[in-house]
Subunit: 438 residues, 2 copies
């Protein structure tokens, strides 16, 4: 019979145990920070009606939605992010208690061109607060980002913060209409990638007049250098425009709140050129960057007070962020922030078969009841081969219980790191294994 080639789709990955143990540990740490901030878990389905997702992610995003017609002729789409499903949830279950603080850790799918660090299936970890316009919620989100990265051991990162209304004020300053906001955001979002000149050209091609583009860069240029942007300088230029004043006020409040919440001042920076590509933001926006390894933003989010209104005739203000698990794991690996063992198994029971084998199983069962991860080699093969298995997996102990040991109610415990063998009373085996730290 012809064999089917065992292979993966491009852009999709298996996570073998060595990967999974690290991923689970990173998720455990992040989830713990989410919960200490009072966020509650939510999960939404992989498939949604297509109309729930389409039209929310901008023209480029929409094209990347995995969509198909299902067996019942319904147009369905695979989860593209965790924000739009959340907006759908809050619109659908009207009795959810607000403010609603939820976290969500699930994979999303994008039919993007796979390349280094970019996959078609990847996890996002989102936190959002819905039902309050207070910037205290914005501050809580930034606190989650900061404390998550700190808990993971990150030493160097920068949370950049900006405000969509400052960009609106910038448009007014340049005598452009509100409808220029999306072209402006999409273009200046590319400043890092394509540089000032190409962004200027792009704005021209999007219909901006050259004096308008110049006005925009009159405000932007001073901050694009090494010194960075100054909130005070920006206030001088845009503070007279009502939206600008409102944004400056929001940002100042957010900064004083996050300072109270223990967010270190060196880890946060105002950046007027931060635009966020997505269409639905309405207030503060934030992204996090690291300098090593060279990857894009590791978190992205902001306030989106009008998204829920696409589903219902009620304004439910909202703010949140996504933590990009895959990139965060890249940083954890690059800086070796978390050490995980190759296996969870603490002890391998050698298998001698027959009644000794069954005695070993009984003793193993007792250790498991004490919470110790252990297993018996499934076959009564040569001891050397059983040791080799323990060694390859990195199991710290092999427990040998043959007839001689049984006669003495003992087990011979071999420490696989040191090679030492010690006779231990069977009744003291759990304590012996539990007290050993790697």
């Amino acid at each position: 019979m012809k064999k089917i080639e065992a292979r993966l789709l491009k852009g999709f990955r298996d996570f073998l145990p060595s990967d999974m143990l690290l991923r689970n540990e990173v998720i455990r740490i992040i989830r713990n920070v989410f919960e200490t901030h009072g966020f509650l878990p939510l999960e939404t389905p992989t498939l949604e009606h297509l109309d729930i997702l389409s039209g929310k992610y901008g023209e480029e995003g929409d094209k990347l939605i995995f969509k198909f017609r299902d067996q019942g002729e319904r147009d369905v789409a695979m989860r593209y992010d965790l924000t739009v499903p959340l907006a759908r949830v809050i619109a659908q279950y009207r009795d959810i208690i607000k403010p609603f603080k939820r976290y969500q850790i699930q994979p999303v799918w994008r039919a993007d061109k796979p390349q280094k660090g970019r996959f078609r299936e990847f996890y996002q970890c989102d936190v959002d607060v819905l039902g309050t316009a207070s910037v205290t919620a914005d501050a809580e989100i930034i606190s989650v980002i900061y404390h998550s990265l700190k808990a993971l051991g990150f030493e160097e990162f920068l949370i950049k913060i900006n405000h969509r209304k400052l960009l609106n004020a910038l448009l007014k300053f340049a005598e452009l209409g509100d409808d220029a906001i999306l072209p402006l955001c999409r273009s200046i979002d590319k400043l890092d990638k394509i540089g000032i000149e190409d962004v200027k050209n792009e704005l021209t091609s999007r219909g901006f007049r050259s004096e308008q583009t110049e006005k925009i860069f009159e405000v932007l240029s001073p901050g694009l250098g090494d010194g960075g942007f100054s909130l005070d300088e920006t206030e001088k230029l845009l503070g007279a425009i009502p939206e600008g004043a409102e944004a400056i006020n929001d940002l100042k409040e957010i900064i004083s709140y996050i300072t109270s919440m223990g967010v270190g001042g060196d880890f946060i920076s105002f950046d007027l050129s931060l635009a966020r590509g997505l269409d639905y933001y309405t207030g503060a926006v934030f992204e996090t960057f690291v300098s090593k390894p060279k990857i894009g933003s590791i978190t992205g989010g902001g306030r989106y007070d009008e998204l829920v209104g696409m589903f219902i005739n009620e304004e439910i203000p909202a703010v949140g962020t996504s933590l990009g698990l895959e990139r965060i794991i890249d940083v954890v690996k690059e800086h070796e922030l978390i050490a995980v063992p190759r296996t969870v198994t603490r002890a391998l029971f050698a298998n001698f078969g027959g009644s000794a084998g069954m005695e070993a199983m009984k003793i193993m069962s007792g250790l498991r009841s004490d919470g110790i991860q252990c297993e018996i080699y499934p076959e009564a093969i040569k001891l050397g081969k059983q040791f080799k298995y323990a060694d390859k997996l990195g199991i710290p102990f092999v427990i040998i219980i043959g007839d001689d040991e049984l006669a003495k109610s003992e087990a011979m415990v071999k420490n696989m790191r040191t090679g030492d063998q010690t006779g231990i009373k069977i009744s003291e085996l759990s304590v012996y294994i539990l007290k050993y730290k790697d």
Copy 2:
């Protein structure tokens, strides 16, 4: 603008926080048992090449695979179970250390008719051992089932066990060829649902002669009554046939091993009529049933020594089981086995705005560092409304820090269950909250 109706696809579910807290707790308990048995985590992608999945689940199963052509004109399919992707993994990564003990907890998708308790998206929790033909591995799998259910608090359940080779022997006994095994399995798999007479009719329609069907029921009938099946009686009838003898021997060994592993004898039962619908089983098979609520099997699995051979020219024997998370949760709910709070938040800080609000944020940040789940109400609204929020969510404490309290370095802590208010030194707040048990 026309609103898009916020709604779900049929057969798909949202898990709101109250559901999720229970689901996470059940998964935590199950995962802990998996790990104490030495199983390691694995995850595989949601999408696979269609040819990886098709032809593995029988004619009926194949029809239920969610499949589509993706943007790159590839035929892709959504994960239908966790066993076939595992077989693909072991075939693809030849250097995986064997025996390979892996667990996997992920959703799967089936384009089935949705009905009570049957969904199109649901979680499976699988454990499998690959690379050994020893029935010690079969015993480990049954031990995992038993200890998982016990750890969840199940008092009543029955793990039914049978062996595909006994059914092969049954065919020989009825003078049928080996190719009759799949029709036989598929029909007797329905005994519970459609009864003896209809199964006999179905066998006739599948081409079994009436004397052959009678021979089959000569062996099956005695066990189908209240007394159940006897391994000894079955041995008398089928033990002379080599495959029957082999199966009986396997089953006896498995039973003695699981007894050593602490599996209670009352929770396991031999059942010659247990067939498992899937095509790929080759040895022992097992399913678990509860009497309340009335649902189908809550676990299903067995030995499948030939599945990996569909991908590579090497036999990699394998055995495993799936735990059906959704049905297990149904049982947990029915018997109220696990109590979860409505929220993880232990304390709500009242928000008075201004400098008092910022002081509260500082103190809150300290509590979070001590691992306490807490939050501040995002708006400085009337205290009554803030209390109401805590009450509705079931947050046990509200912490009030106004100017008076600050002057005394105290917080007023309101216990929302008892209504008591106590002044607590801010430096002792964490200890006070931590020592309180619900």
